[in-house]
């Protein structure tokens, strides 16, 4: 039963993507030696609102925007740092993402085929910045929709924070959405649901249950994301390259309104009460 030596080497050399900071994640996706950061910490473009509320800011406001090449083509990667304020979207953080997407669109209009990638590790809007955060999330949505006819917008949710709130809509708008098994994707986070609807509705501490409902594997099995990749930096970088090589999807998920309405109608709330039941109903093709 002892694992073969090659297996041990593989286990030892495995490079977890989840382990990496947002800055390291953006580096891991760009071709070696091409990474350069825009509006980095030394530009000190931090939130003007947090200090007024007695909260220590981070000099990049929790978003890393990096330019470089993917597969030899110009690219921009915007990565959210989930360790800072739960990856929440404040005015500066969100505007950095929206501006990056907008500049990528302008590149395309000038004939520069910039490839956009979003790392969506976020609880959603930053409550301390309220309406400004919501407004900028709407700008991100608009920027994705404006950019995606030019080039696939690739989103990645790696974990462990997950992607929630208004930013889950940003994830859903992406042309190609990649998740790991550790990712979670949903509108309201489990803790919010438990708080609002009670523990009988959802026990947020039951991790097996939570992942069976909104975890990466489940979301892939019911067709709400495009690709499930294991937590490995090289595998994820390869998945990103492959997504750009594959080009535009046949249609966007956000345009499949009749299909999703039909899927919703098919649900009997009395019967479909857990993850496996939804998989049985919505699962595309044969189950593994």
């Amino acid at each position: 039963m002892t694992a073969a030596v090659t297996d041990l080497d593989r286990l030892l050399s495995r490079k977890s993507f989840i382990e990496l900071s947002a800055r390291e994640r953006t580096k891991a996706l760009l071709d070696a030696g091409t990474w350069r950061e825009l509006l980095g910490p030394f530009d000190r473009l931090h939130s003007p609102w947090l200090e007024m509320q007695d909260i220590v800011p981070q000099e990049d406001d929790g978003v890393v925007v990096a330019r470089g090449l993917i597969d030899g083509q110009p690219a921009v990667v915007a990565g959210i740092e989930s360790a800072f304020q739960g990856g929440s979207m404040g005015e500066i953080a969100g505007m950095k993402i929206a501006a990056a997407l907008d500049l990528a669109r302008q590149d395309h209009e000038r004939g520069i085929p910039t490839r956009p990638v979003l790392l969506l590790e976020t609880g959603g809007v930053r409550l301390q910045e309220a309406n400004l955060g919501l407004a900028v999330i709407a700008e991100i949505h608009a920027a994705i929709i404006a950019l995606r006819p030019h080039v696939p917008v690739v989103g990645i949710i790696a974990g462990l924070v997950g992607c929630f709130g208004g930013m889950s809509l940003a994830a859903a708008l992406c042309s190609h959405l990649i998740v790991t098994p550790q990712a979670r994707l949903g509108m309201n986070g489990p803790e919010v649901i438990e708080q609002e609807a009670g523990i009988a509705e959802l026990d947020a501490s039951d991790k097996r249950l939570i992942w069976s409902l909104i975890g990466g594997e489940q979301r892939a099995a019911v067709g709400l994301v495009d690709q499930l990749v294991e937590d490995d930096a090289d595998a994820i970088a390869e998945a990103v390259r492959a997504a750009f090589r594959a080009g535009q999807p046949d249609s966007y998920r956000s345009q499949q309104i009749p299909q999703f309405l039909a899927r919703l109608v098919a649900i009997d709330p009395a019967l479909v009460t857990d993850g496996p039941a939804l998989r049985a109903l919505w699962g595309k093709g044969e189950q593994a």
Binding site: S21, G40, P41, F42, E51, D54, I55, V56, P57, Q58, E59, E81, A83, F84, Q85
Partner: protein
């Protein structure tokens, strides 16, 4: 939140800058860059109030070994003194690369 500033004498010039860490639970962000004058300047924003003396102790110890004219800015989210010392060392190490 509390803010502290400290100055230390320096006798070597710094050339490079470095950024390490994140403003996450039990951690901190350190920005290290050359100082415009012949003194080391440290500015700390910390989420935990009332530890000015401990910050001074940690920095006093750091600057007995480090004599460069740098500007250091720290955004702290409840790091222990051990973690602060480690991040400072890492910033120095990164600025040498």
């Amino acid at each position: 939140m509390e803010t502290f500033t400290f100055d230390y004498p320096a006798d070597q010039k710094a050339t490079a800058r470095a950024h390490v860490g994140v403003v996450g639970s039990g951690d901190l962000e350190v920005l290290l860059e050359p100082s415009p004058d012949q003194t080391a300047h440290v500015r700390i924003n910390t989420s935990v109030d009332g530890y000015g003396q401990v910050w001074k102790n940690v920095l006093d110890r750091f600057f007995t070994r480090f004599r460069k004219a740098v500007r250091i800015e720290i955004n702290d989210f409840g790091a222990t003194p051990g973690m602060v010392a480690l991040r400072l060392e890492q910033a120095v190490e990164e600025s040498r690369q």
